[in-house]
Symmetry: C2
DNA sequence: GGGACTATTCGACATGTATCGAAAACACCC
DNA sequence: GGGTGTTTTCGATACATGTCGAATAGTCCC
């Protein structure tokens, strides 16, 4: 059970996740890319996405995804890992994530 | 050169509709209610929705939906009618609208 | 402890959005 | 043409968002 940065990271209960927040979070290409990479490759540290934005911007996107209930974050040494809450999201909004990501763009 | 209010109304081609814009447009409860009412009752004039917002605010929402490619507007006398572009949207983003609206909230 | 690595927070800035009331544009009817 | 009904446009306001660089905080290793 990791300690440390865990304290500052809170995750909403899936029952309290709002559709507005999920849609707003997915209405951004960078964040959709993050979700796609999590689906494709599983858990991933924040620094391993190689996206063309500043680290601070990426941190902002991870926070948006986390507060929207789309990802869960946990610390592993000096890295912060990201997990998709896909099963939970599919109970809350069935098919939403896969439908949104089913588009090429 | 179209006559009257038609002149100011332009609709994007369905092929040019962007997922970002659709998701942002649907990430608003008032606009989702508009879409729901169009699905339930078919074409409807702007003034017949009875939503608790000012007319100018409603006009802003209709413009957002129109520019996102979600509705089409045409004039009928002194009223402006709204039609859902559901078939077109389903070819562009299959199942997206119905999946988003499948939630109670 | 000191250094290196990882990630977040903090200003700052530009842009977008939801809202309103008032004013203007458009269409119908007498 | 004048009055009435419908919708949009125009400011104005308050708030949110995406972006960056610099500074800060947490963790590991020597």
């Amino acid at each position: 059970m990791p300690i440390g940065r865990w304290a500052s990271v809170s995750h909403p209960e899936i029952a309290e996740v709002e559709l507005d927040d999920v849609l707003r979070a997915l209405a951004d290409p960078t964040r959709r890319t993050i979700v796609r990479m999590l689906i494709a490759d599983g858990d991933r540290a924040c620094g391993t996405f190689g996206l063309p934005v500043a680290a601070s911007t990426l941190s902002h996107h991870f926070r948006a995804l986390r507060r929207a209930g789309i990802i869960r974050q946990y610390d592993d040494g000096r890295q912060r890992m990201n997990t998709l809450r896909l099963d939970e999201l599919d109970t809350r909004f069935p098919g939403l994530v896969s439908t949104v990501l089913a588009t090429s763009t």
